[in-house]
Amino acid sequence: MATGTEPQPHTEASGAKGAAGPSGTGVHAPSRAAIPARHLRTDRWWLYPATTAAGLFAFVVYSTWRAFANADYYSAPYVSPFYSPCLAENCHPMRGGPNWDVFGSWWGLSPALLILIFPLGFRLTCYYYRKAYYRGFWASPPACAVAEPHKKYTGETRFPLILQNIHRYFFYFAVLVAGILTYDTVLTFRNADYAWGHMGLGTLVFLVNIVLIWAYTLSCHSCRHIVGGRLRHFSKHPVRYRLWGWAGKLNARHAALAWASLISVAAADFYVFLLATGAFDDPRFF
């Protein structure tokens, strides 16, 4: 064959099986170009993993503090998105709010822990966040063409990372949670005395947050697959094809929406915290 691509048995030279010799592995394997440096990049490749890790770490610290605080999460008519829905008896009373005593009185810890597992699981298994924390925290790889420090790599083929495949189930729960946060946002059109037809700065904060939450949720890769991506014949399913197209447009901005919604949900919680602690009074528009 003129192209020289005819099948050959797997050999070291073919590279198909060539295990690294004793002198090195990966980019330092004996068959590869002998370059001592683990990378030759001259740009600031470390900036992305560093800022990603710092941003995610800051959110983890903040959300852990707020989730375990079990205080200052309600200031009528606003309920922190970290505590919604509130599913235990020890919830702060919220008139018309999302406090449904599902778990009863035996739950003595912060009620936020009951619900945060779902948005946490959604984001933890999200295809964008996987890239972010694999690069930022696990250096697998730290950046493109920068050798990773690990000697072995099995990716998402084994427990626990094979559980990333249940992302779609977290997506279903995330839709429910987004629905409840939408209900919370509607409730912000009340005043502190629960009268309807009012609006404050907090209403705007909640509106921005819920738009970003929905945009992030609907831009999810699993959502894109479920609404139409799994089909082979779009022409037989024009409605799902249209939905798939819309999800695709949102999906192109999934990373930006992931960060924007992460910041907005923390901002909404912090806004409620400031109101609940009396550090700030909600400016009312009408």
Partner: protein, 260 residues
């Protein structure tokens, strides 16, 4: 000519050697306005290093031959303009570091051809003769993006699954060929399911889809700007999840006896 007046001397470091060893060699070489890295490599061949080995063909970003690593980043030499570098910047050119080196900038990319042969090809529909295929544009649109691939293998080169772990080469097809599986699985006329070939399942079980941790380096380096991760690998992971990890989909398919 103004192009001549804009000429300057650039500092190049080029890896020279073979499988037995080698190192970076320094050159000072003339650069003119509008040139690309491959032009400079050719000038070096013409003026200073006539035995410098480099693989190239079209010089237009379409043949996928001149793949290399420029300042540590996998790129096509013919599509990397010299104007992206500062004039006093050292430009380092090495062969692709995921594949065995042959000589200088030439690597043995036969790993990719081995993997290509492992992917079962398009299965023609039994009731249609070639020439009778009719497909709607919306049904083939997704696959057409993947057909832009020029097989430069930069995605294979940058993928840390094989770049940093030689031992994974046996089990992992790499982004280019997982994209090929996605293309075939999305093909409206592929009759593989009728023959008992489940591409979704074999992508995970035989071609190492689970090794991919979607860190998107393949997408970053693709000179054709194919959204490999978002449009091929992640949809393929979702399809594999349909088959292997989603009891609701499995149950739904059983109840409705749905094939595709």
């Amino acid at each position: 000519m103004s192009a001549q007046s804009d000429a300057y001397k650039a500092h190049f470091r080029i890896w020279r050697g073979d499988a037995d060893g080698g190192g970076l060699t320094d050159f000072r070489v003339e650069v003119n306005d509008g040139e690309v890295v491959l032009d400079i490599i050719h000038r070096l061949q013409a003026t200073q290093a006539p035995d410098l080995a480099v693989r190239w063909n079209c010089k237009a970003g379409k043949c996928g031959s001149c793949s290399a690593e420029i300042n540590g980043r996998p790129r096509l030499m013919c599509m990397t303009r010299m104007s992206v570098f500062e004039r006093d910047e050292t430009v380092t050119v090495t062969p692709m570091r995921a594949f065995p080196v042959v000589r200088d900038l030439v690597t043995d990319v036969s790993f990719n051809y081995t993997k290509a042969r492992e992917i079962p090809g398009f299965v023609p529909p039994p009731d249609l003769a070639p020439g009778d295929y009719r497909m709607r544009q919306e049904d083939v649109g997704r696959s057409q993006e993947f057909r832009k691939c020029i097989e430069c293998f930069l995605c294979q080169d940058t993928c840390h699954v094989v770049r940093d772990h030689e031992e994974n080469k046996a089990a992992f097809a790499g982004p280019r060929f997982l994209m090929r599986i996605a293309e075939l699985d999305m093909h409206p006329l592929d009759a593989a399911p009728e023959t008992g070939l489940d591409r979704k399942r074999t992508a995970q079980e035989n071609h190492g889809l689970g090794h991919c941790n979607i860190t998107k380096c393949c997408t970053e380096v693709c000179p054709e700007h194919i959204r490999i991760t978002d449009n091929a690998l992640i949809p393929l992971k979702e399809r594999a999840a349909d088959r292997k990890y989603d009891p609701l989909v499995w149950l739904g398919n059983k109840i409705r006896r749905r094939k595709e």
